[in-house]
Subunit: 339 residues, 2 copies
């Protein structure tokens, strides 16, 4: 029997896809065919044999719709907000891949590897714009005031998203990054958009100020838990399932949470880390060291802690509401995933 | 005696600067100090001896405010729209400089030359966001519906702006670009934001649909005239005043309007152009050839034609309105400038 989350996803995600297509095509100027085709490629809408593997998981729009339903609203009215959030996430992927020199995305060449840096920067800007234009589709009976507020929520999330990315880029070269700095960074880079997703759902669902704030916090902590779990999987995950070597975060020199924790806790690890890049053949030993220092346990505890904080914020929502139950399952599945 | 345009500019531009500062600082998250300082640098707000030379001319916000006043509105209510348009223009400069490999901007190092490509892409994204957030400052007695429409006008302009830039990047490598392709490109790249500036002014000034459309067309043609004049100055302008050699557009291989016209009109020019880069020492001869082909005259005629079309759209506005007269002066001064 499919779970409640599976059941709702199966209903909602095709509607999201349909809304994204409609919003994307609506008013896209015909003379800009080149830019159009670049964005179609990035979005995974081209007819490519791999099928769904070429798209993202569409977690954020699902959070928007479940949040709208969780506060008693009609999730269909929230579809434009869900599409906007997913476009915004995808814009950030285009630019992040350039900034972080990521060659692949969803199993295909990243847009900048395919079309060059200049066109990819610009295509990202276009998708950013599409995200904001999509909010115009929020329709009756929603008021213009709700739309105005939706723009504010999405705008603030973007500012935090770019701020977090700026810190992340800086951390690559900065010395002595601590756990506190790391948390500030991921609050922006991952927390902000997940928070906005849940908040937009609550706003459009007519949940009122209090539920809106609570869901914003739910999304925020869910984002933090998700990111910390991502860091854990970057060292201890099942390599094939995430399409890259388990060792890559260490070899790439990424200052993820386990590394930052170990740098704070252990002088010997710090000496090794600061002495130069970690080679693939060393990874087994370094992972054993990290285990011994307690970095894996610490990271797992942080994921659990953030997940619990997230769930605390939706505790009081009615447990006979299917979407509330689905949000809880989603939180658990995201933070217990193995890939 | 200062002209009416000078008089209004002297009153409006300091108010724009104040609004931009206030909008920029409002809610800028304190933890993102690095990103903040990059944007302050780009905006020319740092305490640099050159003073005003380090900022742009702020033409677009002036168009917003004059348009608001020209339809009988209170220009002060339009300040957030003026600031938003200028932020958006500045975002596009940050990204254009990366995409076009422009090393300098307003007499200083371009942001990407100073901070690297990754941070500069991201800082541009942040400024894009600031532009959209600034529209939230449109205040009473403006309705939420007006704000919603302002988001739509700005969003559509952005889509055209990025579409135009995509074509411009493509034209660098494409063969057989004609005058018609060129016009499609500059409609997006330069026309769209000028059009949005005038339209936003008319919207916020309460001019009604008809005047809003008329001013959108005024801004559009003004933008086209401005860009074509820019192309003319890129070959025949006073080099020192624009901070680069008069020859640079030819040496840079830029497919500006005079070149595209000459490519269409003259086989010999086309053979020379297609045979490889133009060297600095050849420029005198090539300019003489362009003169002889009639490329300069044609370009000047196009500027005049676009300027007249622009002015036609504001003909019926009351000529006892100071802002209407100032818009006319602005159109004439922009398209008769020598630098």
């Amino acid at each position: 029997m499919p779970s409640l989350l599976d059941e709702l996803s199966a209903e909602m995600l095709p509607a999201v896809e349909q809304e994204m297509h409609a919003a994307f095509e609506e008013g896209f100027p015909a003379q800009f065919g080149l830019m159009h085709s670049m964005l179609v490629y990035h979005m995974g809408w081209q007819d490519i044999p791999e099928g769904n593997a070429t798209k993202g998981k569409r977690i954020r729009p699902l959070i928007v719709l479940l949040s709208a339903m969780a506060v008693g609203g009609d999730w269909r009215l929230a579809l434009p907000a869900a599409a906007a959030v997913e476009f915004l996430h995808n814009f950030s992927l285009i630019h992040d891949d350039i900034e972080d020199k990521g060659d692949f995305r969803h199993g295909r060449l990243a847009l900048w590897k395919k079309e060059g840096v200049a066109q990819a920067i610009n295509a990202g800007d276009a998708l950013f714009t599409v995200a904001f234009l999509t909010l115009q589709r929020l329709a009756d009976p929603l008021s213009a005031q709700t739309v105005r507020e939706a723009y504010q929520v999405l705008g603030k999330a973007c500012l935090n998203l770019t701020g977090g990315q700026s810190l992340d880029l800086d951390f690559e070269v900065a010395k002595d990054i601590g756990v506190a700095d790391y948390c500030t960074m991921i609050e922006g880079k991952t927390g902000a958009l997940m928070s906005a997703a849940a908040e937009l759902g609550a706003l459009v669902g007519g949940g009122g100020t209090e539920k809106q704030s609570a869901l914003a916090q739910f999304g925020r902590y869910l984002g933090l838990a998700f990111q910390v779990q991502d860091d854990l999987l970057g060292i201890w995950g099942e390599a094939t399932a995430i399409g890259k070597s388990t060792e890559s975060d260490l070899v790439a020199g990424k200052k993820s949470l386990p590394v930052i924790y170990a740098l704070e806790q252990n002088e010997e690890f710090k000496r090794r880390w600061n002495s130069g890049p970690i080679h693939a053949e060393e990874v087994g030993k370094i992972v054993a060291d990290l285990d011994q220092i307690g970095a894996k346990d610490y990271t797992q505890q942080q994921t659990d802690m953030f997940t619990h904080k997230a769930l605390d914020y939706i505790l009081y929502l009615p447990s006979d509401n299917k979407a509330v139950l689905a949000l809880k399952s989603l939180a658990e599945s995201l933070t217990r995933r193995r890939a």
